[in-house]
């Protein structure tokens, strides 16, 4: 019976967590694309104006960024100004939670059929690498190692961005501990 009362809370917490992490990632994507050359080089191959979305099926939270050209991303929040060009869709909020709480790598989630790509696969490949790079920025090294295939050796980032991201992270990791079912 206890389970029945706790479950809705868990669900709610998970939804909230995914919401927050999408916001963190959206802002961080924009921030990192302004300072990190690796991300810029990766993103430059994307068409200017490309709208990228990550979302939870069927109608859950989403994160939308636009490639405004020259490797820079702009975070649009939850709503897109026009139909998106590339969409990465989690099949269920539980799967989004696994990835966004860094229990499952993005590439692993693809391999495990947790999410679908709608759009040009070559752009999805690039965005996955951008997200990998991003995860290493947002996270302390220990957790990032779990979240990406390989932790890059050449990671330099302005102190300010790191500390800003770590604040979000603190919220995030606390969530993982309390919410993990």
């Amino acid at each position: 019976m206890l389970l029945k009362r706790i479950q809705p809370m868990v669900f709610q917490a998970r939804r909230l967590y995914v919401d927050i992490m999408f916001q963190v990632m959206g802002r961080a994507l924009q921030a990192v694309s302004e300072v990190d050359e690796t991300v810029q080089n990766e993103a430059r191959a994307l068409p200017k104006g490309l709208l990228f979305e990550m979302m939870v099926m069927p109608e859950g939270s989403r994160l939308i960024v636009e490639h405004t050209g020259d490797g820079h991303f702009h975070y649009h929040g939850q709503s897109a100004p026009r139909p998106v060009d590339l969409s990465i869709q989690f099949k269920h909020i539980a799967h989004a939670f696994l990835v966004l709480s860094f229990q499952e790598k993005t590439s692993e989630a693809f391999a495990n059929d947790r999410m679908l790509v709608d759009g040009d696969v070559s752009y999805a490949v690039r965005m996955t690498r951008v997200l990998n790079r991003l995860e290493t920025f947002i996270l302390p090294k220990l957790i990032a190692k779990r979240a990406v295939k390989e932790y890059p050796a050449n990671l330099h980032l302005p102190e300010k961005l790191i500390s800003a991201a770590r604040i979000y992270l603190k919220v995030a990791t606390n969530f993982v501990e309390t919410v993990r079912p």
């Binding site: 191959a45 590439s107 692993e108 693809f110 391999a111 709608d118 696969v121 490949v125 690498r129 295939k149």
Partner: protein
């Protein structure tokens, strides 16, 4: 609780072995199809491979209503539209694709148009667009390598836009794959070798890449065993029907494995090389396989070492210390490539192909990084990594 999760799906009926073609009429009748159309290419027809298919149907009183034999090596949207037009005009109700990758992909695409309607195949490009089962569709492979008879993907070139359109849906899978040794008996040596190495690569990558799972592992290892036991026998005696059937089955099994667990960097590099230098896919696979395994080595040491058992048999496997097995697997693959080089000059390096310039390597590396299969490679590949592998594969 285990952290592992996987999916496995293969609803294709496999009809394999002696006189397999003669099962086509019965299988078609079972799906209420009476007016099949054959989709194939000129090479298949010239090799006389249609004759046993047609004879098998006619003997059972089933008429092949139409034969389209002009599928090009890189099938296009206009070819698909033309074939769909003939299918409608002749009131066909089923498709039998006879051939290699291109004929099979064309059959899949035609099936979309004749089932869903319209003339514009581009409209159905992408993943998960199709929501309903399509018309009865059979595949008779005439090469033993691509595994297209069990994959849910088709690629068709949009010649106006100059892009390759991918189609992904489990509804593209044929109702049946008919594996008859007669269909691969006349395959020339270098194609036999290259396509078998494509299947070998499918199985090896399926077994070592990120989406490996217990079911795909079983298919992958069985395929590797069949190829290593039969390929050289068939190279020495092309009319060896038993060996031909083993290779054809291995190709289908490797196809089932990789369509469920994906491929990795060998294919990313191979796709790029195929596009830029116009080298056959199987050749590229054979060429890159050992270099990529060396690059991935520390991430795949354990599964790679296990493959030694299936490549070289229990004696060699048990005589090789555990710590040396992964390297021994790579050596076994190199040995096989040397044997193939001796028999049909299947190139082992980019230089040996005579069709690649050293100055093209950077372009290949960059294109490979955009290939979807790189996502499933067990090691994260940077541009520099891809370049390094290519340099090693150069000579």
């Amino acid at each position: 609780m285990s952290q592992k999760y996987y999916e496995f799906f293969c609803p294709v009926k496999v009809i394999a072995g002696k006189a397999a073609l003669e099962h086509i009429p019965y299988e078609l009748t079972g799906l209420a199809a009476k007016r099949p159309m054959i989709v194939t290419d000129k090479g298949v027809r010239a090799a006389g491979l249609l004759d046993p298919v047609i004879a098998a149907c006619e003997e059972s009183g089933l008429e092949i209503v139409s034969i389209y034999d002009d599928v090009p090596p890189d099938s296009s949207t206009s070819v698909v539209r033309d074939i769909a037009g003939i299918y409608r005009q002749e009131k066909c109700d089923a498709i039998i694709a006879v051939g290699g990758g291109s004929a099979i992909d064309t059959g899949k695409a035609v099936n979309i148009l004749v089932s869903e309607g319209g003339d514009d195949i581009a409209k159905y490009s992408g993943a998960g667009i199709l929501k309903h089962p399509l018309k009865p569709f059979f595949v008779v492979p005439t090469t033993a390598g691509t595994g297209s008879e069990v994959t849910a993907v088709a690629v068709i070139t949009d010649e106006k836009k100059g892009v390759k359109l991918p189609f992904t849906s489990s509804f593209l899978l044929p109702n049946a794959a008919i594996i008859d040794p007669r269909m691969t008996l006349t395959l020339p040596p270098h194609i036999t070798a290259a396509t078998a190495m494509d299947a070998m690569t499918h199985a090896t990558e399926a077994f070592t890449c990120m989406a490996k799972n217990p079911l795909s592992d079983a298919y992958a290892t069985a395929a590797i065993r069949k190829i290593s036991q039969s390929l050289l026998k068939v190279m020495d005696n092309p009319k060896n029907a038993e060996g031909r059937l083993e290779l054809a089955q291995a190709s289908t099994m490797a196809g089932i494995a990789f369509s469920n667990s994906m491929v990795g960097l060998v294919h990313s590099l191979g796709h790029a090389t195929g596009a830029i230098c116009h080298l056959p896919h199987g050749l590229c696979m054979s060429l890159y396989l050992p270099y990529v395994l060396e690059y991935n080595l520390e991430s795949i040491r354990e599964p790679l070492g296990e493959l030694l058992l299936h490549l070289e048999g229990p004696e060699v496997y048990s005589a090789t210390p555990v710590a040396r097995r992964a390297e021994a697997t790579i050596s076994a693959i190199r040995k096989m490539r040397d044997q193939l080089y001796k028999r049909c000059q299947l190139p082992r390096t980019l230089k040996e192909t005579g069709k690649v310039q050293e100055s093209q390597l950077d372009q290949i590396a960059e294109m490979a990084l955009d290939d979807g299969s790189i996502m499933f490679n067990p090691k994260e590949v940077t541009l520099e990594d891809a370049r390094a592998v290519l340099r090693r594969a150069w000579a």
